[in-house]
């Protein structure tokens, strides 16, 4: 707990709360109305998931440029299966999910087997999958799938908590549990934190990389399911705007590009902050130009703050340390 107080997560939490309170006041209290809250949370589900999908690959020091393409392709596949081929909903969703996971697995395998830079591999698979997505849906917007799925996508518990948001949180929880408390999860982080040390401890970095990419694909599969359930339809533009936010959330959340950090909470909180900016845009009828300006400032501000924090912290620990070190002195 004491350590938590000094973390990036804490900074983000404070920013979140302040931002939220500010928005509530600015909207004259409207924002805490059931519908507004629901809308706020409804559109957090997918951003949280794509942030997490990027976070797991960042955790092994890789990156995934194909987030949008994997998600968009899986969503398109599900849509087409249901609308054009009458595949039952659960089957189509399962199949789409598996496709996304398989795409992630393919990324991982390609990185490991070819030793080509992960950046290039995922760029190439992104290109391929964008092609497949277009081949699947063309310029159509596919929406002829059972209403049950759509009502799942728009249903909210107590009129406030959208189911899809809860699904996203559940995924975040599971991911956190897996990274913190399971052996494969720990091994994955060890590979990211110090690949040589991990290897010396008998951990297969290759396996960690494959696992991370597969997990990323699977999370994107869930994101695709939620997208299909909650969008007016599926078309070739799905996934088109996922790339940048997917990086922004974990990095604002405190992830290191060099690997080794599991920042599930930070990623979720960062997604909240970005979402608040959207809300502010609508609330103040801001021109997108101004919104972009604000996003830029918030990102920079929050991270600079975090940096100042850690620096101060570092200084403090260094000053404190001598006693501990001297304790082992010559006798």
């Amino acid at each position: 707990m004491k350590r938590f107080v000094k973390t990036t997560e804490m900074t983000l939490l404070v920013i979140c709360v302040v931002f939220f309170v500010f928005l509530v006041i600015a909207s004259g209290g409207d924002l805490v109305g059931a519908n507004s809250l629901k809308v706020l949370l409804q559109f957090l589900a997918v951003p949280i998931l794509i942030g997490l999908a990027q976070m797991v690959v960042l955790a092994v020091g890789q990156l995934n440029l194909a987030v949008g393409a994997v998600g968009g392709f899986a969503a398109a596949a599900m849509g087409v299966m249901m609308a054009d081929h009458g595949v039952p909903v659960p089957l189509a969703l399962l199949f789409g999910f598996l496709l996304a996971a398989a795409a992630g697995l393919a990324n991982g395998l390609l990185v490991v087997l070819t030793r080509i830079n992960g950046f290039i591999v995922t760029l190439a698979t992104m290109t391929v999958l964008l092609g497949v997505q277009y081949r699947l849906v063309g310029t159509r917007t596919v929406d002829a799938y059972p209403a049950g799925l759509k009502s799942f996508g728009s249903h909210a518990l107590f009129g406030v908590l959208p189911l899809i948001f809860l699904v996203a949180l559940a995924v975040a929880g599971l991911l956190a549990l897996m990274l913190r408390r399971t052996v494969p999860g720990r091994q994955l982080l060890a590979s990211g934190g110090n690949p040589i040390a991990a290897r010396l401890s008998g951990i297969s970095n290759d396996r960690s990389v494959i696992l991370a990419h597969t997990l990323s694909g699977a999370i994107l599969g869930v994101a695709a399911i939620l997208t299909v359930a909650s969008s007016p339809g599926v078309n070739k533009s799905i996934g088109g705007d996922w790339l940048l936010p997917s990086f922004a959330a974990p990095i604002i959340g405190g992830a290191l590009l060099t690997g080794g950090s599991a920042v599930v909470l930070g990623t979720v909180l960062a997604a909240f902050i970005v979402r608040f900016v959207d809300t502010a845009r609508a609330e103040f009828s801001l021109e997108p130009s101004w919104v972009n300006f604000v996003v830029g400032a918030v990102v920079l501000g929050s991270v600079v703050l975090g940096q100042v924090r850690t620096r101060r912290q570092l200084r403090r620990t260094v000053v404190k340390a001598p006693d501990a070190a001297v304790a082992g002195g010559v006798s």
Binding site: A124, I251, P288, S289, L300, V303, R311
Partner: protein
């Protein structure tokens, strides 16, 4: 005062038997060199496309625009390469191009600058905005990814505001003298006596040649380039070796911004006007060229030739597919697959060379 090492110390330090400094010492064979591999790939693909569609060698309609593209994206790649050299990223390359071209556009539209004066102003603006990014990174120690991403958003906000305020159509359409010619002229328009250059080579490509020359020279021949690479390898060690790392960070980003501006100018000249959306498509190609060419994302190693070849590889594939009339349903699928296959051969070569080397001993 120098600190000579005396004979005694030197004698004491000498190894009894120096290892034979093998001439081949640790070098990989030429065919395993990544750049040469890329070159072979590019040539093979060009020949293949040429066989399938002889029009591939049409100077005016294919080679000329292809080279113009390669030239521009090479400069885009170099812009990224400069920050990659210190282990940073510039996610705002495209927007920096847009920003600098906005200044150039203003200089044409409002101040009636000549073509080259406007370019110069743009380059300065690019260097300045890049330096700003570098300065923030150096001062705050925040990751370059985050800073340039934030800057990207900031500019994304700023640029349209300026365009909407100053123009009717969100573009500066004033064309200074010489711009049209620059777009269309090839080396055939440059003659020494009655020997003229090839009509397949656009004059615009000269900018890329100059940029490659300057960047290559800086990194291979100068103190600045060496210091950038050292900073990229280890900031701590660089700082402790007396390299002003903060200043190098700023320099790298300024170079990046300046090159982004040049690329923006080349794009503006080749498409026709200076508009807010310049550079929107720069980001991925900016990484693709250098990284395909062997520049390390982690910093400390760059390849200018590699950047050209990496850029050429992707442009040639796309052009070939264009000529084969591959529709959008298949275009991206082929593009991605060819890239993967082509690069896998690179890996196979490396493995083979390692095997061979151990066998030779």
């Amino acid at each position: 005062m120098s600190a000579p090492v005396s004979e005694t110390a030197t004698a004491a330090l000498q190894e009894p038997d120096q290892p034979p400094s093998s001439s081949r010492g640790g070098r990989t064979p030429w065919w395993a060199n990544q750049r040469i591999g890329l070159l072979i790939l590019v040539v093979l693909l060009a020949v293949l496309f040429g066989l399938l569609r002889p029009a591939f060698f049409n100077q005016q309609l294919v080679v000329f625009p292809l080279l113009r593209d390669i030239a521009m994206f090479t400069v885009v790649g170099l812009a990224q390469l400069c920050v990659l050299s210190i282990g940073h990223m510039n996610l705002a390359v495209g927007r920096m191009a847009a920003f600098s071209m906005m200044i150039t556009g203003i200089s044409y539209d409002l101040w009636h600058f000549s073509l080259y004066a406007g370019l110069l102003v743009g380059l300065i603006a690019g260097a300045a905005i890049g330096a700003l990014a570098g300065w923030v990174i150096a001062r705050t120690g925040v990751n370059s990814f985050v800073v340039t991403l934030a800057l990207d958003f900031l500019l994304l906000g700023l640029i349209p505001l300026v365009y909407t305020a100053l123009t009717d159509n969100a573009a500066f359409v004033t064309k200074p003298d010489g711009m049209r010619e620059m777009r269309n002229y090839s080396l055939a328009d440059i003659c020494i006596g009655n020997v003229c250059g090839s009509p397949a080579v656009p004059q615009l490509a000269l900018f890329a040649v100059i940029a490659m020359g300057v960047v290559g020279w800086i990194y291979s021949r100068t103190k600045l380039g060496r210091e950038l690479l050292m900073t990229g390898t280890s900031v701590k060690a660089a700082e402790l070796s007396g390299i002003p790392t903060a200043r190098r960070v700023i320099t790298a980003h300024a170079m990046s911004g300046c090159l982004a501006a040049l690329a923006g100018f080349m794009l503006a000249v080749s498409t026709g006007s200076i508009k807010a959306t310049i550079g929107e498509e720069f980001m991925l190609p900016s990484f693709l060229g250098p990284i395909l060419g062997g520049t390390l994302l982690a910093g400390g190693f760059i390849s200018v030739w590699g950047t050209l070849l990496g850029t050429a590889l992707t442009s040639v594939i796309r052009k070939g597919l264009d000529l084969l009339g591959v529709g959008l349903e298949s275009l991206n699928i082929y593009l991605g697959l060819i890239l993967l296959v082509a690069l896998s051969t690179d890996r196979i070569r490396t493995v083979l060379s390692e095997r061979q080397e151990v066998r030779q001993r």
